[in-house]
């Protein structure tokens, strides 16, 4: 017995050790990224075109972030990390940024990514002829100077607190263009996705884009981060129908859904318990915008403005948009509770967001009283048109709930459902609309909201400032807020600004518009950062 006990103990110990070794090996293997494979991504919408400086839409932006490279990126917790810039410095007065570039960064055609390319790209973005949607955000830039091939200095006209945010995460951020390829190929070549013309410096090089079919990008072997990317290929397909998208995911035909319809999240969870469903605090506002002014002379976009016959009166805007809308009920019905009822223009996920919900409590009695004070009532009923579009089914649900809520305060809202292009036509071109329901751009900071940054109607006004109010105080707020380098003072300004916007109802948010991405359990290494940063270089497939 004596002789067997140690032997048994030794045996058991050996088995335990072996098991532990096996387990550790297995765990470490599971954590060690594997090279190779194709990441199959599905998009719900088409890519507009592939000139990254001018195309719109997230679908294009997510390609730009992987084919292109920039100076800096932003992490989910708001820290900046270098992309092509290995270090950077800001002068004490906040007017001069000096970026040191990596020496090993190459464009896909083999040419060096250098300071001249950075200057070329920013100059191109700032050129009105380029017609880039990013141009307004480069307005604070005075000049870009090449110090040496690997050092570039950007001089600002005035301090700009969000300069790095803008470079990293406003829409595409800065996408560095290859001067050689840009001059050699035409704009049309880039728009059509000719691979040689779309020569970026990101982890993947464009192989082929066939609109309506697929976009393929392959690993760039000379990418400046050694060992990345892990996957050999990213294949993007457009699957517009969410049911088909879910079926393809369930069948394992796709690995990653880049933007998943919120209405189907519960079904997705039920059907695919192992799927990784990613979301975060909302950054995109779902709006019930009201038109504040109309052209006095009847000519759209005229600088001569008159108050909108209904919503030109602040009291009516407050009665309808503030007290008359039950945001909680809308969220419960339209989003099954999976969104945040919100009044302010910056959502909970937006930097320096402030909750101003207390300014607009649902109070139908107060709404009715205000409308009566204005002169609306049974003898003079208020009727307005509620415009929305067919892009997302949730818009129609929200408009229907608003119509019902309006009926409760004796107001008639007539729903007009149009397609997206018709909606754009009405809103962008100062067309006749009263209120619309839509979700707009995802906001990293309050400053990244291009829709009101030049809100008053002038030669410099933005077509995207749909309500077309004429209050220059909004622009003053924007300027003061974006130029304030002291974080504490900026936060206070943001609060004041957001309260002002809610009080004047120039911007009427209903709630956040939730954003979801879905990945198969074997997709590892993806870091969720909402719509702002979608990078597949760290992704690997554990199959």
């Amino acid at each position: 017995m004596r002789s067997t006990r140690p032997a048994l103990g030794l045996g058991l110990g050996s088995i335990a050790l072996l098991a532990l070794t096996f387990l550790l090996t297995d765990l470490s293997a599971a954590q060690t990224p594997k090279r190779g494979g194709t990441l199959r991504v599905s998009y719900g919408n088409e890519i507009a075109h592939l000139d990254f400086h001018t195309a719109g839409g997230y679908e294009m932006m997510w390609v730009a972030m992987n084919v292109g490279c920039g100076l800096v990126n932003i992490t989910p917790d708001g820290k900046f990390v270098g992309d092509v810039a290995e270090s950077w410095q800001m002068s004490p007065d906040g007017l001069l940024y000096t970026f040191k570039l990596r020496k090993n960064a190459l464009f896909h055609d083999g040419t060096q990514v250098d300071a001249a390319a950075v200057k070329f790209s920013i100059d191109r973005l700032m050129d009105p002829e380029t017609k880039s949607g990013m141009r307004p955000f480069y307005a604070p830039v005075h000049s870009v100077e090449v110090i040496d091939p690997h050092t570039v200095q950007i001089r600002l006209k005035h301090p700009y607190a969000f300069f790095l945010h803008m470079l990293a995460g406003y829409r595409t951020g800065l996408v560095i263009y290859n001067p050689v390829a840009t001059q050699k190929y035409t704009l049309q070549d880039r728009q059509q996705g000719k691979p040689e013309a779309v020569s970026g410096c990101g982890p993947f090089r464009l192989v082929e884009w066939v609109k309506g079919s697929h976009l393929v990008m392959d690993r760039f072997d000379k990418y400046f981060v050694p060992g990345l990317p892990y996957v050999d290929r990213v294949m993007i397909r457009v699957i517009k129908d969410p049911v088909t998208e879910m079926a393809a995911f369930k069948a394992g035909e796709i690995d990653f859904i880049a933007s998943f319809s919120p209405e189907h999240v519960d079904t997705m969870k039920a059907q695919n318990p192992r799927a990784r469903i990613m979301t975060g605090k909302e950054t995109t506002p779902m709006m019930a915008a009201m038109k504040v002014t109309v052209p006095k002379d009847g000519i759209p976009m005229s600088v001569e403005r008159a108050p909108h016959p209904i919503f030109g009166d602040l009291r009516v805007r407050k009665a309808i948009g503030c007290y008359g809308i039950d945001r909680k009920e809308i969220v419960k019905i339209a989003f099954k509770g999976q969104a945040t009822p919100w009044v302010g223009m910056a959502l909970p996920g937006t930097l320096e967001s402030v909750n101003v919900n207390h300014l607009c409590p649902y109070d139908p009695a107060k709404a009715k009283a205000i409308l009566a004070e204005v002169g609306y009532g049974p003898s003079k009923p208020l009727t307005f048109e509620l415009l929305t579009n067919t892009e997302k089914s949730v818009f129609s649900v929200i408009t229907t709930v608003i119509k019902e809520q309006m009926a409760r305060i004796g107001v008639t809202a007539n729903i007009r459902l149009v397609d997206k292009v018709s909606w754009l036509n009405s809103t962008l071109q100062d067309g006749p609309w009263d209120m619309y329901v839509e979700d707009l751009l995802s906001l990293l900071t309050i400053d990244s909201n291009g829709y009101l940054s030049t809100a008053y109607v002038s030669k410099n006004s933005s077509a995207w400032s749909h309500p077309r109010h004429t209050d220059t105080k909004v622009d003053d707020y924007y300027a003061r807020y974006a130029r304030e380098m002291d974080a504490g003072k900026r936060k206070a300004l943001a609060k004041e600004f957001l309260e002002y916007m809610a009080d004047k109802m120039y911007w009427n948010t209903i709630s956040g518009s939730p954003f979801y991405m879905v990945a198969q359990p074997w997709v590892k290494g993806y870091v969720y950062n909402a719509e702002f940063e979608v990078h597949w270089d760290n992704v690997w497939l554990d199959k």
Binding site: E46, A48, H49, T54, A55, G56, G57, K131, S132, G133, M134, R135, R171, Q188, Q191, Q192, V207, E208, V210, K211, G212, S213, H214, V216, M235, R237, V238, I239, K240, D241, V243, T244, E245, A247, A248, K250, A251, G252, E253, Q271, P300, M301, V418, D419, K420, V421, S422, L424, N425, S426, L428, Q429, G450, A463, W464
Partner: protein
């Protein structure tokens, strides 16, 4: 015969042009402007005016149409307003997918319709006939998208993914791009559900029509004579009855091509197929006038040519028919 064909071919020209003109007028009558989508985030009123000038959208509609027509006569189908890609190139890339879908859908329809109609006619007022007519009625009543979703749930999810839910694999030798899935088996797997979803409705219509024709034909004297002469029942049905009963069916088949093109838009969207249907609907939604014109031109041309082929096939089905 040759004169007839020539005359019909000449008739195609005004028909197709008429259709493209109507489409041209309709596209410009609906609200929306491709320039809005083209300029996107950088939209300004000034740029919109300039862009309209560049693309000739500021011209009167008739002038725009004549410019398009003039270019078409030189073989230029124009370029997409949004991407700048040549329309002809895009259309040719998408055409094989839709063509295969339509041909196979019609194949599915015939494979179902012919036996069902024959059984229904020969066994009139029996359980077999009732089954055939009931199934036909159900087939007519189910919309393509609904049947498509049911098929997706059954074969892509329910049965462990025996058939792929979406996308496309090309037949060997037909890949029009750099990167394609190419395989005969893969192609069959991808086209089966869409073709079935699209074909079942057509099968139902053809079944009802062919059954009625067969009922009429099998009561004619020449069929009775054939039977009296001792011709086998199979030969009587297939050679004497079916061939003559097919004439109205073939006519309707030609007309059904139009429905198949319409149905392809729905089915291709549901199954995320890179065909002409999704191309057409995307073009309409984006108000990409040039692409819509290309789509209308090709589908109109296909429709009239197929109907010409149908008319010519009558001479084969019934030798008494002569064109002169």
């Amino acid at each position: 015969m040759r004169v007839y064909i020539l005359r019909r071919l000449v008739q195609i020209v005004p028909t197709v042009l008429g259709i493209t003109f109507v489409v041209f007028l309709m596209m410009r009558s609906i609200p929306g402007d491709p320039v809005v989508a083209l300029l996107g985030d950088s939209y300004t009123q000034e740029d919109a005016v300039k862009a309209r000038e560049v693309y000739g959208l500021n011209q009167p509609i008739l002038v725009q149409y004549l410019i398009w027509l003039g270019k078409l006569l030189q073989g230029d189908w124009g370029a997409s307003i949004l991407t700048g890609r040549p329309v002809l190139q895009d259309v040719l890339v998408r055409l094989p997918v839709t063509l295969e879908l339509i041909v196979l859908s019609m194949g599915v329809a015939l494979v179902i319709a012919i036996p069902a109609a024959i059984i229904g006619a020969l066994r009139q007022n029996t359980w077999a006939d009732y089954t055939a007519t009931t199934v036909a009625m159900i087939g007519v009543s189910i919309p393509e998208f609904f049947l498509g979703v049911l098929l997706l749930l059954a074969f892509s999810i329910g049965l462990g993914g025996v058939l792929p839910s979406s996308g496309w694999v090309y037949l060997p030798g037909t890949c029009p791009m750099m990167v394609c899935g190419v395989s005969l088996w893969g192609n069959m797997q991808h086209v089966l559900m869409p073709a079935f979803a699209l074909g079942v409705g057509r099968a139902a219509i053809l079944t009802r029509l062919l059954r009625a024709s067969m009922l009429e034909v099998i009561r004619t004297e020449y069929v009775t004579t054939a039977r009296a002469k001792g011709v086998t029942e199979l030969k009587v049905v297939l050679k004497h009855a079916l061939k003559n009963a097919l004439i109205p069916t073939v006519t309707v088949m030609g007309l059904q091509v139009g429905f198949l093109i319409g149905g392809a838009i729905v089915v291709e969207t549901l199954f995320a197929m890179p065909g002409l249907g999704t191309f057409g609907i995307d073009a309409i939604i984006a108000r990409d006038y040039q692409q819509v014109q290309g789509f209308a031109l090709l589908t109109a041309f296909a429709f009239v040519v197929i109907n010409l082929v149908v008319d010519l096939s009558y001479t084969f089905l019934d030798p008494r028919i002569r064109y002169g």
